[in-house]
Amino acid sequence: MSEQPKIKVAPVRKSIEVRVPQARAFDVFTAGFGRWWPKTHHVAAVDMKDAVIEPRVGGRWYEVGEDGSQCEWGRVLAWEPPAHLRLSWHLNGKFQYDNDVESEVDIYFIAENANVTRVELEHRIMAPDAEALRAGVDSSGGWSVLLESFAKEAAA
């Protein structure tokens, strides 16, 4: 088994209703990303000016700093307008970009009716810290499973 030890916690799930059509919700979420993403939540050392999701599978999503520098957060894994978006978020425990860390965000846009869209989000965190991966040679099978149920219980 080449599987590396991973620390898992129960996925974060969110649901919110927005009073706009499905296509509009998807468009604002993606094309309008820099307009709504909280500017307080960014990765780079410089202040954030804008944030971008590239509209294609394999595209990047990244922040643009006040000085024009770019800081990548991850990749677009699924691009299915206007219904679904999946992003990888390479974020480690130090809030830094790290390509080894697997975290995925699924966002579904579900048309409740012509004018109301329910947005459902699931964020799965599979390896919160790259150091844990690099250090990891100990692979006790039940680790992630047990930790997950443990985290679920803790969060209940």
């Binding site: 916690v9 919110i16 130090k94 947005v119 989000l121 150091e131 990891g136 006790s140 969060a155």
Partner: protein, 107 residues
């Protein structure tokens, strides 16, 4: 933030083994050291880090201290993301429901 400390603490493989031992049940330093190729002082040091990270709790029992997992520590990053997405989705909703004339606004 608390979650950083928790994950930094678990990045050490020996410390994870100590943590693993505690998942089997509350233990003293001596009991943990018996199951691992690690000295008692080293186990104590690892437990101190785990405790500071909010991952374990301890209580005195006779002359020993009994350590147990603190369920709140590991959930810290999850709790942080939980709050984070609440905030982010609220600002998304506000932006989406703005009148359409502001679509191309780019301050």
């Amino acid at each position: 933030m608390a979650y950083k400390t928790a994950f930094t603490a678990l990045a050490d493989p020996t410390r994870r083994e100590v943590f693993e031992q505690l998942r089997k049940g509350p233990s003293s330093v001596g009991e943990i050291a018996r199951h691992l190729p690690v000295s008692r002082p080293a186990v104590s040091q690892h437990l101190k880090v785990l405790k500071e990270a909010g991952l374990v709790q301890d209580e005195p029992k006779g002359t020993a201290r009994i350590y147990r997992i603190d369920p709140k520590g590991l959930a810290a990053i999850r709790a942080w993301l939980d709050r984070f997405w609440d905030d982010a989705l609220e600002t998304f909703k506000a932006e989406a429901e703005k009148p359409r004339s502001t679509d191309k606004e780019n301050p």
